[in-house]
């Protein structure tokens, strides 16, 4: 194994080193030393991004498994494995993130022993716990196939339908409940984002992001591993994404109208700027892009639309968790650099693990079959490398 020091590998190494330093500060000097969280801002980006966005970005798992196993749409089969892998890694990393954010993470098991059924957090915690287990079993066939363990493979495939149903049920519950976390703060969260419909919007955005993320990771991995892009599948997903975005957008507008906020959101204000950014990235730009058949049918157009859409919904969650509280608190929260580093290190770990899994497990059968697979860090590297010739897949 010859290790070539490329720019992106260097970036990866720097991020991991700074992440390890930040983790040291977190555990040696406490939350106050590592973050800019305070009594006024008890939740920072570790909740706003790592948890709220992490869970949202992993939503592809239940969307795609549901489409393939439940709706029996066989032609989407080729994206199931990478999506399940992303979801499984995503949830594992959310849990890793909690070990930095929780003040007393060594007592995380109290969740199981001292239950408070009235707490949304309790419900989210249990759903995430169970769903990560479900994802583990949905992911397991990759490992079992790799080691030719046919008997347990048959067992897992035998209960796959049950797993998928459980996965969708658990996802519906906790994706929406992440929004329900904020229902108890009507006086604190800014009216642009506080609405009784928060759970519905969090679920709706999870569906959109699940689709966008599937397009994103499929495009990215085809560039990284030089494999064929399943373009017809992605075009179809892009079409569904367009519809889902329209539904989300119309419901948002309806909600603003219903709560008499339409006049306020067009008036310039600190919150309005962030809201405009969010609405532009999540709805206006991707909907416009995807509406053009030419863009929707091109690999780069789809890729661009899905990335912008992802950024839009990430902005939305950060608005709900950070921007929406700044007026109430009376000052701004800007994460400390060590806070950013832990988040970045978690993301980098995710990319690296994805690359490793693709290298050693039959995630993309055609990649694994070929002996020349790029090294894990290359996944990140490929971000900037112009896409190789994208061959249209005849569809399998």
């Amino acid at each position: 194994m010859n290790f070539k020091p490329t720019l992106w590998r260097l970036v990866f190494l720097v991020i991991i080193c700074l992440g390890i330093y930040s983790a040291y500060v977190r555990y040696a000097h406490g939350l106050g030393a590592v973050s800019n969280m305070s009594d006024q801002f008890p939740w920072g980006i570790w909740i706003g991004f790592d948890v709220l966005c992490g869970v949202m970005l992993a939503a592809g798992g239940f969307i795609v498994t549901g489409a393939v196993h439940l709706l029996n749409i066989e032609r989407l089969h080729s994206v199931v494995r990478p999506t399940v892998l992303t979801a499984f890694l995503g949830y594992c990393l959310v849990i890793v993130g909690l070990f930095f954010d929780l003040g007393r993470p060594w007592f995380i098991w109290h969740q199981i022993f001292y239950r408070n059924p009235h707490s949304v957090m309790f419900e989210v915690g249990f759903c995430v716990m169970f769903y990560t287990t479900v994802l583990f079993f949905e992911f397991l066939p990759n490992v079992l196939e790799r080691f030719h363990l046919h008997k347990p493979l048959r067992w897992v495939k035998g209960v796959m339908a049950g797993l998928v149903v459980a996965g969708i049920l658990l996802s519906t519950l906790h994706q929406s409940s992440l929004g329900a976390l904020y229902l108890i703060m009507p006086s604190k969260l800014h009216p642009f984002w506080y609405t009784p419909a928060l759970p519905f919007f969090f679920f709706g955005s999870a569906v959109a992001v699940g689709l966008a993320m599937t397009i994103f990771e499929s495009s990215l991995s085809s560039r990284a591993f030089g494999r064929q892009l399943e373009l017809p599948v992605l075009i179809e997903l892009g079409g569904v994404l367009l519809v889902v975005l329209w539904v989300n957008a119309l419901l948002r507008v309806e909600d603003f109208f219903h709560r008499d906020q339409l006049a306020n959101i067009v008036k310039p204000s600190y919150e309005a700027y962030f809201l405009w950014l969010e609405l532009a990235l999540a709805f206006v730009i991707p909907i416009t892009l995807l509406s053009f058949k030419k863009i929707r049918r091109s690999p780069n157009g789809l890729y661009l639309a899905s990335v912008i859409c992802l950024l839009g919904f990430v902005t939305n969650r950060l608005n709900v968790s950070v921007t929406g509280f700044e007026t109430w608190v009376g000052h701004h929260y800007v994460p400390k650099w060590t806070e950013f580093m832990i988040t970045l290190a978690i993301i980098a770990t995710g990319f690296a693990l994805f690359g490793l899994a693709v290298k050693y497990l039959p995630i993309f059968p055609e990649v694994q079959a070929g002996n020349e697979v790029e090294k894990p860090v290359e996944v990140i590297a490929s971000n900037v490398i112009p896409a190789p010739v994208l061959v249209e897949n005849a569809g399998d």
């Binding site: 555990y27 040696a28 000097h29 406490g30 939350l31 106050g32 030393a33 969280m37 305070s38 009594d39 006024q40 008890p42 939740w43 196993h69 439940l70 709706l71 029996n72 954010d101 929780l102 003040g103 007393r104 993470p105 007592f107 995380i108 109290h110 969740q111 022993f113 001292y114 239950r115 408070n116 059924p117 009235h118 707490s119 949304v120 957090m121 309790f122 419900e123 915690g125 339908a161 998928v164 149903v165 969708i168 049920l169 519906t172 519950l173 409940s177 329900a180 976390l181 229902l183 108890i184 703060m185 009507p186 006086s187 604190k188 009784p196 759970p199």
Partner: protein
């Protein structure tokens, strides 16, 4: 009936004896520097604020329906029958949802600690249970902080406003805010002056109800949604099953015929 505190800002002389007593009672550090701090923190459960020669105490409101107790995933907070909202440090996992959820921003955190606890006024639960007053009420030289039955204190507050309407904002803060609290406040200046959230913004609905409306639907939602999902699966796979069964039958018939 539950116990409560009535703090009448017009009677307060700003001596900060309540701060001292609170620190002693809860074994918190207290010094001239801490006395000069005008914010609540993990080492200052209550604070006497001064603005334009007016005083105002801030402390946990001990809501009748506390948001902190409702949101805590491990039930580290609970409302006692006597009135205090208390905290069980052993259960706490440090998620800080209580801090985010509290409309009065009362729970504070030991940000510098490696095993941090949530800190807030717990209304001297041991003293209250033993039939004593809270430390702050006991030491108050002017009776500005008064301890007693909530109902009695509400009546007394109403009487004070009636007898001296020019002296007071005509409102008992905590009577109906977020469904009522066990700390009641009287003041000659608007409560917002000292950072209390506006009453109309808080509303009279107990905060846990906002989540309760959603959470109460979950027990019905789970079986219903499972049934729908299972149904969808059954329908979409029915065709395959039928086709497979038909193929099987044909094979069987064929074998039969051959025999």
């Amino acid at each position: 009936m539950s116990k409560a505190l009535l703090y009448d800002a017009t009677m307060c002389i700003g001596c900060k004896q309540c701060e001292v007593a609170c620190a002693q009672q809860n074994k918190l550090p207290y010094s001239d520097e801490i006395a000069a701090e005008s914010v609540q923190s993990e080492h200052k459960y209550t604070v006497v604020l001064t603005k334009q020669e007016k005083f105002m105490r801030r402390l946990c409101m001990h809501c009748e329906h506390p948001a902190c107790a409702s949101v805590c995933p491990v039930g580290a907070f609970h409302k006692t029958a006597e009135g205090p909202v208390v905290y069980d440090v052993w259960k706490c996992i440090g998620c800080r949802y209580c801090m985010v959820a509290c409309a009065f921003a009362q729970p504070k955190y030991e940000w510098q600690s490696l095993n941090p606890r949530v800190r807030k006024c717990i209304m001297c639960p041991d003293r209250v249970k033993a039939g004593q007053q809270t430390a702050c009420a006991e030491i108050c030289p002017t009776g500005a902080t008064k301890f007693g039955e909530r109902d009695d204190l509400v009546k007394e507050a109403q009487t004070r406003i009636q007898q001296n309407p020019s002296n007071y904002v005509p409102h008992i803060y905590g009577l109906t805010e977020v469904g009522g609290t066990n700390v009641l406040l009287l003041s000659s200046v608007p409560f917002e002056t000292f950072g209390y959230p506006k009453s109309e913004k808080l509303g009279e609905t107990p905060l846990p109800e906002y989540t309760g409306r959603v959470m109460s639907k979950i027990p019905d939602f789970i079986p219903l949604w499972s049934l729908v999902l299972g149904g969808v699966y059954w329908i979409t796979h029915r065709r395959e099953d039928v086709a497979a069964a038909e193929a099987g039958e044909k094979k069987f018939e064929h074998k039969d015929g051959a025999r």
